[in-house]
């Protein structure tokens, strides 16, 4: 049996769910109210959490409590970002943006090269013959066939994205094969997208069923 506080909160969350679903009929004041409420709560949430989990432990504690004066640089860069609100000094925020973009770009370039380019190209060089049978992966010839399909598929799909030469003859035929691989990938992506969206709906319906059941229980009808 839910406590009174839990019951009230269950009703509030369920009514808000129905307000949002009312958009399926048409746009209306209930939906607008729910939408603006959500934006306000989210904005407050992000900043409060950011303050407690980032600014206090990562800036206040090292700078003020531990006396690490180099953190003044981070503090100044952070304050400069806020100058975007004041048109006369907004240009100072470019220094903070420049720092963030430079740092993240430098880091991302190396890790993406390692993880997404070199590793992925390396792992496309796969054996197609002489593979031993595996109880889980299957007979050796089947593993070899799958590896061959992957190699051909990756090459064909990459050739499709090569636009420096007219796609005719062998190049055109391979690009056409690449399109087929990509279309099947997108079809698989669509199937999974449908699954994802329906899962979210299942979750909300489950919540609404729980709301009705608890209400019936509290009112003593069940």
């Amino acid at each position: 049996m839910p406590t009174p506080a839990e019951f009230v909160l269950l009703w509030v969350s369920s009514l808000l769910t129905l307000f949002v679903f009312s958009f399926l009929y048409k746009d209306n004041p209930f939906y607008k109210f729910a939408e603006y409420l959500y934006v306000g709560i989210s904005a407050g949430y992000y900043v409060a959490f950011d303050y407690q989990n980032n600014l206090v432990p990562n800036l206040w504690v090292p700078l003020v409590q531990q006396g690490k004066l180099e953190y003044i640089i981070a503090f100044v860069l952070g304050i400069l970002i806020i100058t975007r609100f004041f048109p006369k000094i907004a240009h100072l925020s470019r220094w903070s943006l420049s720092f963030m973009i430079g740092t993240v770009t430098g880091l991302a370039m190396v890790v993406v090269l390692q993880g997404d380019l070199i590793m992925q190209v390396g792992r496309t060089i796969l054996p197609v013959v002489g593979i031993p049978d595996d109880p889980v992966a299957g007979p050796g010839w089947w593993q070899g066939f799958q590896n061959l399909v992957i190699i051909i598929g990756v090459c064909a799909s990459l050739i499709y994205f090569y636009f420096s030469k007219e796609q005719r003859g062998f190049l055109g035929g391979t690009a056409k094969l690449g399109i087929w691989f990509l279309m099947i990938s997108f079809g698989a992506g669509f199937g999974f997208t449908v699954m994802a969206r329906l899962s979210l709906l299942i979750g909300r319906m489950d919540h609404l069923i729980n709301w009705v059941q608890k209400t019936i229980m509290v009112l003593g009808w069940g």
Binding site: I41, A108, V112, I150, G187
Partner: protein, 210 residues
């Protein structure tokens, strides 16, 4: 003049991060830059809240049709902010006996943010069904291929499709054909990212000037 200094600053920050991978002596610098980056990104979140505040205050001042909703937004934001910063972000216990100032932040999160976030996204299920009925046409052989792959994957992913070789076909599509297509996209995207990164570090593109 400032532009040249900005380009140089971006280049030095980026170079420091890249060089630290090749020169262990610069590891300390990379760690420090990473920590500073975390702090600067935290401050940038305040910008978002500030923008929402400015836009909605202006709506109220101009007596816009959405003024009542803007007031709701600002009250909600203020309550959430004060409860989180002043009273803390303590999570509620399993049984909610009462709502206190200390636990108000988490109650608002559980009651409003959680159900509404998921409900907003669950609306997409209805729209995807509507689009499936009205727009997905097998007009070309490629589109037919896409739809056939989608059918097999949708069937193979659910218990009702657990017959014949449907799960094995779905597994082959995902782990072989889809892997090949996605890998090509990944390699292409990685090459694109590297070229854009170089353009930014060398000052050919300057997104921080916007």
């Amino acid at each position: 003049m400032q532009r040249n200094f900005l380009v140089a600053f971006t280049f030095i920050c980026g170079l420091a991060m890249i060089a630290s991978f090749f020169m262990p002596i610069l590891q300390g610098l990379q760690d420090m830059l990473s920590k500073f980056g975390i702090i600067v990104i935290s401050f940038s979140l305040l910008l978002g809240m500030g923008s929402i505040l400015v836009v909605n205050v202006q709506k109220i001042q101009r007596r816009h049709a959405d003024t009542p909703y803007s007031i709701v937004l600002l009250i909600a934001m203020f309550v959430m902010l004060v409860s989180g910063i002043v009273f803390g972000i303590k999570p509620v216990e399993s049984r909610i006996e009462s709502v206190t100032l200390e636990t108000l932040f988490d109650y608002l999160f559980q009651t409003i943010m959680v159900p509404m976030s998921s409900t907003m996204f669950s609306l997409l299920a209805f729209f995807i069904a509507s689009a499936a009925y009205r727009a997905f046409r097998a007009r070309t052989p490629e589109a037919t291929m896409l739809l056939v792959a989608a059918f097999l994957v949708m069937l193979g992913q659910v218990p009702i499709g657990n017959f014949w070789v449907i799960p094995q076909i779905k597994d082959f599509i995902m782990e072989v054909i889809n892997t090949a297509g996605q890998r090509a996209i990944m390699i292409g995207a990685a090459l694109g990212l590297v070229s854009v990164s170089l353009r930014i570090l060398l000052g050919i593109e300057r997104p921080y000037e916007q």
